[in-house]
Amino acid sequence: MNRIYYIIKKEYIQTFKDKRMVMLIFVAPIIQLLLLGYAVNMDIKHVSTAVIDRDRSFESRDFIRDVSASRYFDIVFYLKENEDVHKIFQKQQAEMVIIIPPDFSRKLKRNEKSPVQVIVDGSDSNFATIVVGNITQVVRRFSEKYSTKMLERMKYSIKIPRVNPQTRIWYNPEAKSSNFMVPGVICMMLLVVTSLLTAMAITREREIGTMEQLIVTPIKPIELILGKLIPFALIGFCQVGLIVAAAQLIFGVPMKGSVLLLFALSGLALLTTLGLGLFISTISQTQQQAMMSTFMVIMPSIILSGFFFPITNMPRPAQIITYFIPLRYFLHIIRSIFLKGSGLDILWPDALALLVFGVAIIALSVARFKKRLG
């Protein structure tokens, strides 16, 4: 037992010898938190719009006012007659162009359908569908407004029925992107830092040559493994605590569930990440290899885990692959505990998956490790 303690101490001394490393371990999560919490906002707003108004009537100006009053579009300038829309898009001066033909108001007054041309720059907006949807909405609302006015003017007193949706958003009432992103940072941090540090720490010994020195000592392989994994597990827990605190203090992300449960399930997730680091250390001879391999695994995991892109949007084969990514379950657990207050009664399938994956990876890695040492 003592021997494990000494290995842990040695690991800490080595890791924290570099003060900048310490800073990185604890500053990096904060930076990621800030980036993801503030920067990542997928709402579509402030679409820059240029307008050509060839009608210059009261109705056309009313229409333009409606467009700019909606929170989606910013009218950035009015085009002159023969400006090349192509150039405008190429020079990034606007993302959408509205062209109002000269007979706009005339057709409206004559009760005919009055067309308006809208050109959307499809290369710039990954949500061009949404932009199209938004402008369609604005146009429809203007149409409705105009029809109602027209009917009133004709003094036809028909009562016009309307469907009125009352929307209630649950779990994230202001629909803040940060409530979605910030809890996920815990998962990402844990995965990246603990796997990477573990893999590199063990591989460094091999690369520098001190691994042989360790083997010669009376220490048993299992003690060596535990001694190497425990420090990073503790660092992992510290990071979880740090991010949970920061999430609530800085971003006001609600914590509706049990913090204890969060830590306990983080422990399960640590099994998988440390196991990954250990496994990679058994297949790498140099730190660069360890790092490359870790990245090759981590990057697809993060992208496919549902962190940025909801899994339900992916095609079926991709969704099946995500069942094998431990991060997926951990992400679901974290988000549910924070925002929905879910307990073990709802989360037990995810917890079980993490347990199974964790034990499997660690068992496999320990077996490989022993083989290499022996």
Binding site: D18, A39, A128, L151, N164, T167, M292
Partner: protein, 379 residues
């Protein structure tokens, strides 16, 4: 002079060749990311699971529900008898939206008044939520228009109906008419991959020599510091450009991303961008003493920004002002504008002159700082 640079480059190439893992990453990473972003990731949000609580059970309420079902955006997964069940469904994630149609829905409509329906929506995935809300509003508006037309028709105003809806938006989407995510994502992927490869590999190469102790051996030789610098980055420049080619070819041939610009411009910009990435890597290698530290620093300063702050997935305009200001210092930001411009809009180097100037300036600055630090550290 060039002889010595080439000698260092050759030594570096031998190191790289011996390390098959790195080679695998250099080629494997673009392929993996291409597969993921080409096939698995789409920004289109469809098949939103919705549960319906129809307390009215009338023809009108069924009409509304069928509008949801046929919209192409929602999948009706469950019909629940009362609102109490909604809680469990939303919490478990079985559905993201619950539509509650009250008892007096059709009655209110027949009386010509406002009929309310309730929408309960799971707000955890904020992006999906706002998109779903947009769809719902659209469907509600369409339904309201339909009712309006019905009423007008019955009241004998078929003349007026011909002109409804009064304003008809003819919407055209340029450069990406089918609105394929791949056309937007894959050109941007070139920037992300190049930045990762060049910065990561370069940052490690010098730190590795420091850690192993072989840097002193280099210093003893008559090779000048800047020659070491140039010789070391040359192979990684080639690898970066090679990766660009892989994504370019696979993107166009396999994923049918349109390319209407000029490849020469793409190549020029790629070289300048690669130099930026190499410069960042080199800079990090002069600051870090251990590979672990180097890698973490590279992660924070080049990989994360390339993914999150460059406009790759998230529009820069959406970010708060301070962060937008920070993005001016990120090379990937400019390169992504260039990539999308050349691929999809056929922009040339004169239209993109601003990006050209910025990127070149950044590259030059990075290299200048690096060579100064290099000299200091090695002497």
């Amino acid at each position: 002079m060039t002889n010595r640079i080439l000698a260092i480059a050759k030594k570096e190439i031998i190191h790289i060749r011996r390390d098959t893992r790195t080679l695998m990453l250099a080629i494997g990473l673009p392929v993996i990311l291409l597969l993921i972003f080409g096939y698995a990731i789409t920004f289109d949000i469809k098949h939103i699971p919705i549960a319906v609580c129809d307390l009215d059970m009338s023809q009108k309420s069924r009409e509304l529900v069928s509008m949801f079902a046929y919209s192409g955006y929602f999948d009706v997964v469950d019909y629940i008898p009362s609102v109490n069940k909604a809680d469990a469904l939303l919490n478990s994630g079985k559905c993201k939206v619950v539509l509650v149609i009250p008892l007096n829905f059709s009655k209110m409509l027949y009386r010509g008044e406002k009929a309310s329906v309730q929408i309960l929506i799971d707000g955890v995935e904020a992006n999906t939520t706002s998109v779903a809300l947009g769809y719902i509003q659209g469907i509600m508006q369409m339904y309201s228009s339909k009712i309006l037309l019905d009423v007008l028709n019955k009241a004998g105003f078929s003349n007026q109906i011909k002109g409804m809806p009064p304003v008809d938006a003819k919407i055209r989407v340029w450069y990406n008419p089918e609105l394929r995510s791949q056309n937007y994502v894959i050109p941007g992927l070139i920037a992300v991959i190049m930045m990762i490869i060049t910065a990561m590999l370069t940052s490690l190469t010098i730190v590795r020599e420091k850690e192993r102790g072989t840097i002193e051996q280099l210093i003893i030789t008559p090779v000048k510091p800047y020659e070491i610098m140039l010789g070391k980055i040359l192979p990684y420049l080639l690898i970066g450009l090679f990766d660009m080619l892989i994504v370019f070819i696979v993107g166009i041939l396999v994923f049918k991303v349109p390319f209407i610009g000029n490849f020469i411009y793409l190549f020029i910009f790629a070289v300048i961008f690669a130099v930026c990435g190499l410069g960042i890597g080199l800079l990090i290698s002069t600051i870090a003493d251990s590979q672990t530290f180097a890698i973490q620093l590279t992660l924070i300063t080049s990989m994360l920004p390339a993914f999150l702050l460059s406009g790759f997935m998230i529009p820069i305009k959406n970010m708060p002002g301070i962060i937008q200001f920070v993005t001016y210092a990120i090379p990937a930001r400019y390169f992504i504008i260039v990539l999308r411009g050349i691929f999809l809009k056929g922009s040339n180097i004169f239209i993109l002159w601003k990006e050209f100037v910025f990127l070149s300036a950044l590259a030059f600055l990075l290299m200048a700082v690096c060579s100064k630090r290099f000299k200091k550290k090695l002497d």
